[in-house]
């Protein structure tokens, strides 16, 4: 668990972070969202002491991090950054094994772990002997992720991890990222300016502006209960897409009729969001998919039914 208690940081006369406090729960993915210069990256970097706060406390697992040796602290926290920062003079295997070496792991253990990890991250084994510049941007970012995950740290800090990638690569890596078992048991703090990305990956979003937290809550909270104009306007323009992504089939379950046709297909889980369900409907030829909820009830929906259910859910929600 990570806790920040009224943390501030100034650079010269600019106050980058003003009295920020928040908690990140174990295995939670908190996304710091905001425009550039809002203090989100500074906040992130204070958690592994790349930047030292001027005042306030940062506590990780009940221990004030200022009492720890910063190098030891950092070796226990995974770090992924937009510019990846792979060492150009190390091959991929050496790049991934930097932290194991610092922690004096034996070589066999490291090698085994690296082989497992690159398989999970869909990297070819042949890349281990290559140098970073011989890899594509997407592959480099996967290596960056492997480097952060190799020692299986409980905490992962990510600074715009997908920011340098083109849209297609980004979408596929994001999808893999979401699916990766390894990440589900980690406490993650991630910085992004991309609202879509934040809503897709976050358990909770922390919206920041000018060094202050505007609102902190689940994507749904931000979408439906914005605390002020800034929070509302920040999401305007993408609201519909975001809603499709935030609302799950479970949310609209009751608005769906229960006409059921049996097919051989594996049904879609109701924990999926509306957006994914729509994409699935579009992709099948008969324009209808089956969805099952946690009680093993199965419903069959087409595009129109789903849209109607979503609209009714939204209407009712607004009047809650």
């Amino acid at each position: 668990m990570i806790e920040l208690k009224s943390v501030s940081k100034s650079f010269g006369n600019t106050q980058a972070v003003k009295q920020i406090s928040f908690k990140v729960n174990e295995k939670e993915n908190l996304v710091l969202l905001g425009t550039s210069g809002c203090g989100k990256t500074t906040t992130l970097k204070m958690i592994n002491r790349l930047i030292e706060p001027d005042s306030g406390e940062i506590i990780i697992n009940d221990e004030d991090i200022t009492n720890q040796n910063p190098e030891i602290l950092r070796r226990g926290i995974g770090y992924v950054m937009q510019n990846i920062g792979l060492f150009p003079h190390y091959n991929i295997a050496e790049n991934i094994s930097v932290v194991p070496k610092l922690l004096k792991w034996d070589k066999e253990k490291t090698d085994q772990r690296i082989i497992d990890l690159i398989k999970k991250l869909h990297l070819p084994a042949s890349c281990l002997k290559m140098f970073p510049h011989e890899l594509s941007g997407g592959q480099q970012q996967r290596v960056g992720l492997a480097r952060a995950l190799v020692t299986d740290p409980a905490i992962l800090l990510m600074d715009e991890p997908f920011g340098a990638l083109d849209n297609v690569t980004r979408a596929s890596i994001q999808a893999e990222f979401k699916a990766l078992e390894e990440l589900k048991r980690k406490t993650i703090v991630m910085v992004t300016h991309d609202v879509q990305e934040a809503f897709e990956l976050a358990d909770r979003v922390c919206l920041m502006d000018q060094g202050e937290i505007i609102q902190i809550g689940t994507p749904k909270d931000l979408l439906y209960n914005p605390i002020n104009d800034f929070a509302r306007k920040f999401l305007d323009g993408q609201r519909l897409t975001l809603e499709f992504k935030v609302v799950t089939i479970d949310d609209v379950w009751s608005y769906l009729s229960s006409d059921k046709i049996s097919t051989e297909e594996k049904p879609l889980l109701s924990s999926s969001n509306v957006w994914d369900a729509m994409e699935k409907i579009r992709s099948v030829s008969k324009g209808k998919v089956q969805i099952s909820n946690q009680h093993n009830e199965i419903k069959s929906v087409d595009f129109q039914q789903l849209t109607q259910a979503f609209n009714r859910y939204k209407y009712n929600n607004r009047h809650e």
Binding site: N83, G85, V98
Partner: protein, 523 residues
């Protein structure tokens, strides 16, 4: 041309022992100083990359040091470090410092800051970041700096022979003084080859990728240390006293060769530049030096001339030598130049030299004072009848003479004057005269005979000691061969002389060269 080449090869072959020795000394000097420069420069470069505020001042100082002329720098070193290897190494080290510091600094600050940030974020300590990330990544830039420094050092190391540190400069400067092209080339060609070979070797290393570079970097320091070891200090001390002779003196019959053959003098000898020789004697770095009998520093440093009791040093009477063409072009010139004839004796010349060399009066002032005192000075007429070009060699006496001639010409004729003073040596001055770059310069009868004409040894031995015969011989030969006229001698005789400190001479009771030989044989 072919013949010339063969004689060059012949010379190199004949002198192969010396050549090899000098080349090894040269390499050794280059690499010892490089080693120290790296040992000092790299940490300094790292320091200023960490504390950027220091960078401008440290790079500034290194830059200023680099602009100090090399011979001056060597001169400054002598009072502190003496002569020989130490000051040469320090001077070379100073020249090598700037490229090494600067490239270390730019190499580190040029590294992508995200790479450093990620190294920090992974939990590397500062030392680990330096050795595992910064140094390897800055390595190509660092190597470029070392490469520049190496090439600079190979060049500057030729000057080390000025202060008795050996190296290929012994041949180069000896050759220039002795008008011996083969000797110059025997030093210059290996020096140039060294520079080219080392430069290309380092450029190969510099272009290697990280994988290969890692292996080479283990070999590199070892290589530098091995090469440094080549420098075996010229330390075969054979006698109690140490002599310092100029490269010119070393190669002349009326110099070291004569001392050996006529006197049988055996003394530990090192080769040194005339510019620092007197001071080195004064500072007891040297005991015996080969000076000039009218040199002002004789007086300044309280040195005594040892009597040449066997008469091996021929007279060196100074006289202006003029192109015949110039005499035609400037009809009044001869008369004016002859105004000085017979006016300056040995002791007057020594005194004038003393004023410039030791009291640091400008040659212009010394010349003017002298002319006024002898009622020869006239205010310049600022005429416009063409320009007379005066040359001079690169030592005080010649500067004074050039100034006097300049004033005499301006005061007594309507010609204007341009002075090209400080031409490197006899060969450079004479070539300038032959090739119509200057109209005249003061030359010495002995030099004209033994360096420029170089007649067969029998003839030169026969006439060299006779003032009149030498003068007549050079006059007629120069006219025949080069179309150059020797005007009337000025009066003083600036011959070679062996010198010691007055005190030491008294203490050891050495007054003549024979005394010196006897003293050396006894001890």
């Amino acid at each position: 041309m072919n013949e010339q080449q063969q004689t060059l090869w012949g010379f190199m072959f004949q002198q192969s022992d010396k050549l090899l020795n000098q080349t090894l000394q040269h390499l050794g000097l280059t690499f010892i100083s490089l080693l120290f420069a790296i040992a000092i420069g790299l940490p300094l470069g790292i320091l200023i990359a960490r504390k950027r505020k220091l960078s401008s001042s440290i790079l500034g100082i290194a830059g200023i040091l680099q602009t100090v002329p090399s011979i001056a720098l060597l001169g400054f070193m002598i009072p502190v470090l003496g002569i020989g290897a130490k000051p040469a190494i320090v001077a070379l080290l100073i020249y090598a410092l700037l490229p090494i510091i600067r490239n270390m600094y730019t190499g580190i600050i040029g590294i992508d800051r995200y790479i450093i940030e990620s190294a920090r974020a992974l939990g590397m300590s500062k030392i680990q970041i330096l050795f595992k990330v910064e140094l390897p990544l800055a390595m190509p830039v660092i190597l470029a700096g070392i490469r520049t420094a190496t090439v600079i050092n190979v060049g500057v190391a030729t000057l080390a022979s000025y202060i008795a540190a050996g190296g290929l400069g012994e041949f180069i400067f000896g050759g220039i003084s002795l008008n011996n092209t083969n000797m110059i080339l025997a030093g210059a060609i290996p020096a140039a080859l060294l520079a080219i070979i080392l430069d290309s070797l380092l450029s190969i290393i510099q272009k290697m990728d990280f994988k290969k570079l890692r292996k080479v970097l283990y070999v590199f320091p070892i290589l530098i240390i091995v090469l440094s070891a080549f420098y075996i200090l010229p330390s075969a001390y054979g006698s109690k006293l140490t002599a310092g002779f100029t490269p010119e003196f070393m190669g002349r019959q009326d110099g070291d060769l004569g001392l050996k053959s006529e006197y049988g003098l055996k003394i530990h000898t090192i080769v040194i530049s005339d510019a620092v020789m007197y001071k080195a004697a004064y500072l007891k770095e040297l005991d015996v030096i080969s000076g000039y009998s009218t040199d002002g520093r004789l007086k300044a440093f309280d040195l005594k001339i040892l009597k040449d009791d066997k008469g091996i040093f021929p007279p060196y009477y100074a006289a202006p030598i003029v192109r015949a063409g110039s005499l035609k072009k400037f009809p009044e010139l001869e008369k004016v130049l002859n105004l000085l004839s017979g006016k300056i004796t040995d002791s007057i010349m020594t005194d004038l030299n003393y004023k410039t060399d030791y009291l640091h009066e400008s040659p212009e002032k010394v010349a003017k004072d002298f002319l006024i005192k002898n009622s020869l000075y006239k205010n310049p007429r600022n005429g416009k009848d063409g320009m007379v070009r005066i040359g001079s060699k690169i030592f005080g006496e010649q500067y004074i003479l050039a100034e006097m001639y300049s004033m005499l010409i301006k005061g007594n004729t309507d010609y204007t004057v341009s002075t090209k003073t400080g031409l490197g040596g006899t060969k450079i001055c004479f070539d300038a005269l032959v090739n119509d770059q200057i109209d005249f310069y003061p030359e010495y009868t002995g030099t004209g005979l033994l360096v420029l004409l170089q007649p067969n040894p029998k003839l030169s031995k026969e006439i060299a000691h006779d003032k009149t015969r030498t003068y007549n011989y050079v006059s007629s030969e120069f006219k025949k061969k080069y179309g150059i006229k020797w005007l009337k001698a000025i009066g003083f005789n600036n011959s070679y002389a062996l010198m010691m400190r007055q005190k030491q001479s008294k203490l050891l009771n050495v007054n003549t060269i024979t005394d010196l030989k006897n003293y050396l044989d006894k001890n």
